[in-house]
C-alpha cells in the first residue's frame, strides 16, 4: 500500500513540480508584483494603481477588447474552415488518402512559427509575391501593401491554429456512427437538420475543446500579430511585452498579464455555458 502510494507520488512528481514551479509560483509572484507600486527608487508599497491605469487609459482598454474580439473571430473562422477538412478526413477519405491529408495538415508545423510567419511576409509585403501577381493579372495597377492589416493578422492566426482545431474534430467525428446519419436521413432529415441535430451535438465536446485550445493560443499569440500587423497590430500581449521589456515597468506588465488570464478564463467559461458543455467532459473527450 505505502509502496503503491510512493510510486504514484513519484510518477506524479514531474507534473506537480512543473505545475508548481512554472505556473503557480510565477503567477503568485506576478500577483504580488501587480499589487504594488513604486513610491521611491527601490521602495514599494501595496497599491491598486496598475489596475487603475488599465481602467483609466482607453488605449489599454481598446487593445484588450480588440484582442478578445479578434481572437473569438479567429476561433470561429478556424472552426468553419477546419470542420469540412476534419469531416473529409474522418468520414470520407480512406486508407492512404486519409493519412496523406492528415500529414498535409501537419506539414506546416515542421517549420518554426517564426519562419512560417516570415513566409507570409514574403508573400504579402508590397514587393512580395502576391501583390506582384495581382499586378501581372491586371487586377491592381500598382503593388499594394498587404501586410499590417487586420485581415492579414487574421489569416496568419487562422493558419497557425488550423491543426489544433482539426485534430480534436477528427476525433469527435470519427466516433460518430455513420448509421445515425443514415437513420436521420431515412426519417426525413436533410443535410442541415442532420448537421444541427445529429453531427454538431455529437461533436460538441470536440468542437469546444478545439475552440478552447485555438482561442487560448490566439489570445496569447505574440509573434503572428506583431510580424503581420506591425506596430499598429495592437495585440494585448504586445502591451505586456512593452511594459516588461521596453518600459521596464514590471508592475504594470504583471497587472496586464493577470488581466489577460482573467479575460481568457472568463471567455472560456462563457463559451462553455453557452454551448452547454462541461469542462471535464470536453477534456475527457478530446
Amino acid at each position: 500500500m505505502t509502496h503503491k502510494r510512493l510510486l504514484f507520488g513519484l510518477l506524479l512528481a514531474p507534473a506537480l513540480i512543473w505545475l508548481l514551479g512554472l505556473i503557480v509560483l510565477p503567477h503568485v509572484d506576478l500577483a504580488i508584483l501587480s499589487l504594488r507600486a513604486r513610491v521611491a527608487p527601490g521602495e514599494y508599497a501595496p497599491s491598486l494603481r496598475q489596475y487603475q491605469t488599465f481602467i483609466e487609459e482607453p488605449l489599454y482598454w481598446n487593445t484588450f477588447v480588440r484582442t478578445a474580439v479578434m481572437s473569438i473571430l479567429a476561433t470561429a473562422i478556424t472552426l468553419l474552415l477546419a470542420f469540412p477538412i476534419a469531416w473529409t478526413i474522418a468520414k470520407i477519405a480512406r486508407g492512404r488518402a486519409r493519412s496523406l491529408m492528415f500529414i498535409m495538415c501537419l506539414i506546416p508545423f515542421w517549420v518554426s512559427e517564426t519562419v512560417r510567419t516570415l513566409g507570409w511576409m514574403i508573400l504579402l509585403r508590397e514587393s512580395g509575391v502576391l501583390p506582384a501577381v495581382l499586378v501581372q493579372l491586371g487586377i491592381t495597377e500598382a503593388p499594394i501593401e498587404m501586410l499590417y492589416r487586420d485581415a492579414t493578422i487574421m489569416v496568419g492566426l487562422v493558419y497557425t491554429s488550423m491543426l489544433f482545431m482539426v485534430v480534436p474534430l477528427i476525433g469527435a467525428l470519427d466516433s460518430l456512427d455513420d448509421t445515425l446519419i443514415e437513420a436521420a436521413y431515412d426519417l426525413g432529415g436533410n443535410g442541415w437538420s442532420i448537421l444541427w441535430r445529429i453531427i454538431v451535438p455529437h461533436a460538441a465536446p470536440g468542437i469546444v475543446a478545439g475552440c478552447i485550445v485555438v482561442f487560448m493560443l490566439t489570445l496569447g499569440n505574440y509573434l503572428t500579430p506583431t510580424l503581420l500587423g506591425g506596430k499598429n497590430s495592437l495585440w494585448f500581449t504586445e502591451q505586456i511585452y512593452t511594459q516588461f521589456i521596453t518600459r521596464f515597468n514590471w508592475e504594470q506588465g504583471a497587472a496586464f498579464g493577470f488581466l489577460l488570464l482573467v479575460l481568457s478564463s472568463a471567455i472560456v467559461w462563457v463559451g462553455l455555458k453557452l454551448s452547454g458543455q462541461h469542462f471535464g467532459d470536453v477534456m475527457r473527450r478530446s
Binding site: T179, A184, D186
Partner: protein
C-alpha cells in the same frame, strides 16, 4: 388485384463485377410480414438498402405503393428502416427520437408531443419521453426504434436484422413482440435475417436468398416441407444431408446409394436421372427411433446404428446415430414422450423413416450451403 406495397422489377446491383443482387423481381402484399432469409453475403443487405434508397440499383426499378422510386432519395420515400444496431440518437431523449421524423415534416410541437405520447403508449413505453437512450434496456431500445419509424406511418417498414444484437432470451421475446406489433399496426414489414427461426416464426412469406437470387419464395410451411432446391432444404430448418447416386428411380421414389454403401429411399424433387449424383435430405424429426428393428414398421426401410452422442436441448433434444454398416451419421430428434430419456452413448439403436418424407434432389453443380 390489390396494389402491392412493394414491387421489385428486375432489380440488379453489382460491386466491382461481382453480382450482389441478380435481376430480382418480386412483390410484397399490403399488410404482410415478408422476410428475406439468407446467409451473410447473399445480397440481402444490398437489396434492403436499395429499397430504402441508400443504394441505387444498376438496373431495374423498385415500386413502393405503386410509385417508381428511381429518383426518390431516402428522406422522401414512404419507407422507414430499423437499423441493425438500431441507430437511436444518443444525443436526444426518447421523445425527441420518436418525434424527429415528425419535426422534420414541420408538424407543430403540440401535435408532435401528442403523437409521440400515443405511439410510446402503443409500444408499451408510456411516459418515457424524457428518458435518455442509455437508460433503456435492449428490448426497450428496440421498441423505441420501431416506434420512431412507425410514428411516420410508412407504407413499408424495413428491418435489418434488428434482433441480431440481443441475447437469446430477449431475442425469443422480441420475436413475439415484433409479430404482435406488426399485427397491431398492419404495416407491411420487410425483414431481413440470416436466422431461419426468426424468419419462420415471424413471416407470412419468406424468400430464401442465395448468391443474389431468390432460391424460393413461399410460406414458412412450404419452405420447410416442400423445399424446391437443395440449398433451401439445407438452410431452412435442420436436416441430414446425404450425398450419393440415384441407383434406381421408380416414379416419385428414388433409391439413393452413398459411396459408403448406405441405401435409402427418398421422394424425388424435380428431375432426377437414374445414375446421376443426388443429394437426399432427412429431417431429424422425420426419423423414428426404436430399441430394436422389430419396433419399427416393416413397410419402411430400417437401419441400425450406435449412439455417437447425445444432444440434450430440452424439447429439441436429439441423438447422433452412426449407422452400423456405412458409418453415416444421422441427427435424429428424440420423441417428446420421454421413451428414450435413458438412451446412452454407445448403445445400439434402430431407426427408420418414411421415404415419402425424405427428399431427393439432383445434385447441383455447385449448390453451396
Amino acid at each position: 388485384m390489390e396494389q402491392p406495397d412493394l414491387e421489385a422489377r428486375r432489380v440488379a446491383k453489382r460491386y466491382a463485377g461481382l453480382v450482389a443482387v441478380d435481376e430480382l423481381s418480386f412483390s410484397v402484399k399490403r399488410g404482410s410480414f415478408f422476410s428475406i432469409l439468407g446467409p451473410s453475403g447473399c445480397g440481402k443487405t444490398t437489396l434492403l438498402r436499395m429499397i430504402a434508397g441508400f443504394l441505387a440499383p444498376d438496373s431495374g426499378d423498385v415500386f413502393i405503393g405503386g410509385q417508381s422510386m428511381s429518383d426518390v432519395p431516402p428522406n422522401r420515400r414512404p419507407v422507414n428502416m430499423v437499423f441493425q444496431h438500431l441507430a437511436l440518437f444518443p444525443m436526444m431523449s426518447v421523445g425527441q427520437n420518436v418525434g424527429y421524423g415528425l419535426s422534420r415534416r414541420g408538424l407543430p410541437a403540440k401535435d408532435i408531443a401528442q403523437r409521440v405520447g400515443a405511439m410510446l403508449e402503443r409500444v408499451s413505453l408510456p411516459g418515457s419521453e424524457n428518458k435518455r437512450i442509455d437508460q433503456l434496456s435492449g428490448g426497450q431500445k428496440q421498441r423505441v426504434a420501431i416506434a420512431r419509424s412507425l410514428v411516420l406511418e410508412p407504407t413499408l417498414l424495413l428491418l435489418d436484422e434488428p434482433l441480431g444484437a440481443l441475447d437469446l432470451k430477449l431475442r425469443e421475446h422480441m420475436k413475439i413482440e415484433l409479430k404482435q406489433l406488426q399485427a397491431d399496426f398492419g404495416t407491411t414489414f420487410v425483414y431481413i435475417t440470416h436466422d431461419q427461426s426468426e424468419a419462420l416464426v415471424l413471416s407470412d412469406h419468406v424468400a430464401v436468398m442465395n448468391r443474389g437470387r431468390f432460391e424460393q419464395l413461399g410460406t414458412p410451411q412450404s419452405l420447410y416441407y416442400e423445399p424446391h432446391t437443395p440449398f433451401v432444404a439445407g438452410f431452412v430448418g435442420a436436416n441430414n444431408r446425404i450425398e450419393g447416386r440415384a441407383s434406381q428411380v421408380s416414379g416419385d421414389l428414388v433409391e439413393v446409394t452413398t459411396e459408403q454403401g448406405l441405401r435409402l429411399f427418398a421422394r424425388r424433387m424435380g428431375e432426377v436421372q437414374a445414375g446421376a449424383a443426388v443429394t437426399a435430405f432427412v429431417r431429424p424429426e422425420v426419423a423414428t427411433l426404436a430399441r430394436n428393428v422389430d419396433g419399427l414398421p416393416a413397410s419402411q426401410p430400417r437401419f441400425q446404428g450406435k449412439v455417437a452422442s447425445l444432444l440434450f436441448d430440452g424439447a429439441n433434444s436429439a441423438v447422433l446415430v452412426r449407422e452400423t454398416a456405412s458409418q453415416t451419421e444421422f441427427h435424429i430428434a428424440l420423441p417428446q414422450t420421454g421413451q428414450f430419456a435413458d438412451v446412452a452413448v454407445g448403445e445400439t439403436i434402430a431407426f427408420g423413416f418414411d421415404p415419402e418424407r425424405a427428399l431427393c434432389f439432383a445434385a447441383a453443380a455447385s449448390s453451396g450451403s
